[in-house]
């Protein structure tokens, strides 16, 4: 699964869906799944390729969502501009948090903790500050015109999020093929060795963090635009931190298509369970938690990795499989 072909196939297949399916339920499901895939693709850049597992990507999702909403509600800024500003705000948050955390040399558990703490601080501040609507949240005014980035039909929204996901896929693909991507993977596999070879680990990780935050912030901007409502529990809540890391890990951590595959699989399973067992609070997240454990236990390289292994076994491809992440190193 190398090269741009799988990306083109996946995007084309998803673009064809509205031509065949007209159900609003299905479209809504896909919009939300793609939204999570986008947030997950952001996480995948720093977490998957860079090996820095953030437990607080809500910090970027929420900053994007709030920036978009605040600019429109309080300052009457055009929605498209607000969207771009939201992405920029998320990238800035990524730069600040990344610079602080990486400058302090935080790795592994410590990095997970500090990202989680930043997201929580932002959540609590957003729940009391007047500019974020405090406990009430912010409602974006309904204005169903394309120039306000709001649409009468769900299909238009669907194509917007699909386009965003496609851009994120291309970014991941370009990173994977670039020298920068090689540095990033080298840092993931062995930071000290990479530095000994002259890779500036701090700058590489910081750059990856900024890209990562920008992509996840775009998901937040889209959320605000699609649901026209943001509050502190949605924007900076732990749910999005968890889903952003869950999707690439289920799909295949450090692979271009992993987050997309993971998001579709996780959402399908979650919705399927609701259909079978009835909509009860906690059910879908319970399944996500179990999936996370099961995937790490039985398919550490995710669904994409498992698919590649199977294809190799069936067709005996001579392409060498990438060694499982870090498995050998610790014994």
């Amino acid at each position: 699964m190398k090269g741009p072909a799988p990306i083109a196939i996946a995007v084309a297949a998803l673009a064809a869906v509205p031509l065949v399916v007209h159900s609003n339920v299905v479209l809504n499901f896909l919009v939300v799944a793609l939204l999570i895939a986008l947030a997950g693709q952001g996480w995948n850049i720093i977490g998957g390729y860079g090996g820095q597992y953030s437990f607080g990507h809500a910090a970027f999702f929420g900053t994007g969502a709030y920036a978009t909403a605040i600019l429109q509600v309080h300052y009457g800024v055009n929605a498209w501009l607000g969207f771009a500003a939201g992405i920029a705000a998320g990238a800035a948050a990524g730069a600040i948090i990344g610079a602080l955390a990486f400058r302090a040399g935080l790795r592994s558990s410590y990095f997970a903790l500090v990202t989680l703490a930043f997201a929580e601080v932002l959540r609590i501040l957003a729940s009391v500050a007047p500019i974020t609507g405090a406990g009430v949240g912010l409602l974006i005014k309904l204005d169903l015109r394309p120039q306000s980035l709001q649409f009468q039909s769900r299909v238009a929204f669907y194509f917007v999020i699909l386009a965003l996901v496609a851009v994120a896929l291309v970014i991941a693909h370009l990173i994977e093929r670039s020298r920068f991507g090689t540095w990033l993977i080298a840092v993931r596999e062995n930071e000290d060795a990479a530095m000994a070879l002259g890779v500036n680990a701090f700058r590489v990780k910081l750059a990856a963090m900024v890209v990562s935050a920008a992509i996840t912030a775009a998901a937040g901007c889209f959320y605000a635009q699609y649901f026209l409502f943001v509050d502190s529990g949605i924007a900076y809540g732990t749910w999005i931190s968890i889903e952003a890391l869950l999707t690439p890990i289920i799909g295949g951590v450090g692979t271009v298509l992993g987050p997309l595959v993971g998001a579709l699989a996780a959402k399908a399973l979650g919705e399927g369970a609701k259909y079978v067992a009835g909509d009860a609070p906690g059910l879908d997240l319970m399944i996500y938690g179990a999936m996370l454990v099961l995937v790490i236990a039985f398919a550490p390289r995710g669904l994409v990795g498992a698919f590649n292994d199977m294809r190799q076994r069936l067709f005996g491809s001579t392409m060498k499989a990438r060694p499982p992440l870090k498995e050998a190193a610790h014994g």
Partner: protein, 290 residues
């Protein structure tokens, strides 16, 4: 105006809350000291234990202070089994995987509780729940005084286990030098699971001490564990005295900050301490090495 007696009361109350924080942090720091991972399932385990203590009283009329002798061993066994049969095998010896597995368990347990019991707040009414001790200038709630004392008994017991028993020695050996301990014939998987069991037993005891004055909800444990993260980082990951002192300090800071700035900003204060310590001195105040 502000009387010093009110401040003293706030400090005393902070110390008592802090003691329970310290107990939760003790479990967390013990696990970190040996396994070198943050157990993200700690909060979910605390919620589960709160429910266990609640139902022990409601269904069987079991006083929480008696139930602790049942619930603590039960959660020890649960923690042991989780590490031995779930977390250990499924993480393939990689720290990052271990982190994710504990997170997955946290999400699973918390939402299983939500699915089974819904988000209702459950409290128990003990006959002595509202008794208080008169100090002359202020009153202290009886259950909180009991829990304050109990935390130090548990800490002492833990210290005795660590210094006197063979298991304790093996745990310390694995924490210091895993490979060396393995070569000396210590079953590392077993010791990991024992440590995880002890850490989980700590939250079970904390739950029994909390339930008389607190409540059980699926997310109840998280409030404590986010604070416990701060304490563990402040006191130094893996340091037991650090967890105790850090717990008391944070309890007082929270109480005073809440007193001066209001509840939610008091919480922000704790997180800011957390972030500053992480960024400036990740070893913590008592930690040996990061």
């Amino acid at each position: 105006m502000l009387s010093p007696l009110i401040l003293v009361t706030a400090v005393l109350n902070g110390l008592m809350t802090g003691a329970v924080y310290a107990l939760v942090a003790l479990g967390l720091t013990l696990i970190y000291g040996v396994l070198h991972i943050i157990n993200f399932a700690h909060g979910a385990m605390l919620s589960a234990a709160l429910f266990a203590a609640f139902f022990a009283y409601q269904k069987f009329g079991l006083d929480p202070y008696l139930a602790v002798f049942l619930i603590a061993p039960l959660f020890f066994a649960l923690g042991y089994a989780l590490q031995r049969f779930v977390i250990g095998p499924s993480s393939h010896g990689d720290d990052r995987n271990m982190l994710l597995v504990t997170l997955g368990l946290a999400v699973f347990i918390e939402n299983a509780l939500l699915y089974a019991f819904r988000a209702n707040t459950r409290t128990i009414d003990l006959p002595y729940g509202f008794k208080s001790i008169d100090l002359g200038f202020t009153f202290l709630a009886m259950p909180r005084v009991i829990s304050f004392a109990a935390v130090f008994i548990v800490a002492l017991a833990l210290w005795l286990i660590m210094t006197l028993t063979d298991t304790g020695k093996a745990i310390r050996a694995v924490a210091k030098e895993k490979l060396g301990a393995e070569l000396a014939g210590i079953d590392v998987a077993h010791i990991y699971a024992m440590t995880f069991g002890l850490g989980t037993a700590c939250v079970a005891i904390a739950a029994c001490l909390l339930i008389p004055t607190y409540y059980a909800t699926p997310g109840a444990g998280n409030a404590f564990v986010l604070v416990a993260f701060t304490i563990v980082v402040l006191g130094g990951m893996g340091s037991v005295p650090g967890a105790l002192i850090g717990g008391l300090v944070i309890g007082v800071v929270e109480s005073l900050a809440g007193f001066f700035f209001g509840e939610s900003l008091g919480q922000v204060g704790i997180f800011l301490i957390f972030i500053v310590v992480l960024l400036v001195r990740p070893r913590g105040l008592f930690g040996a090495s990061a």
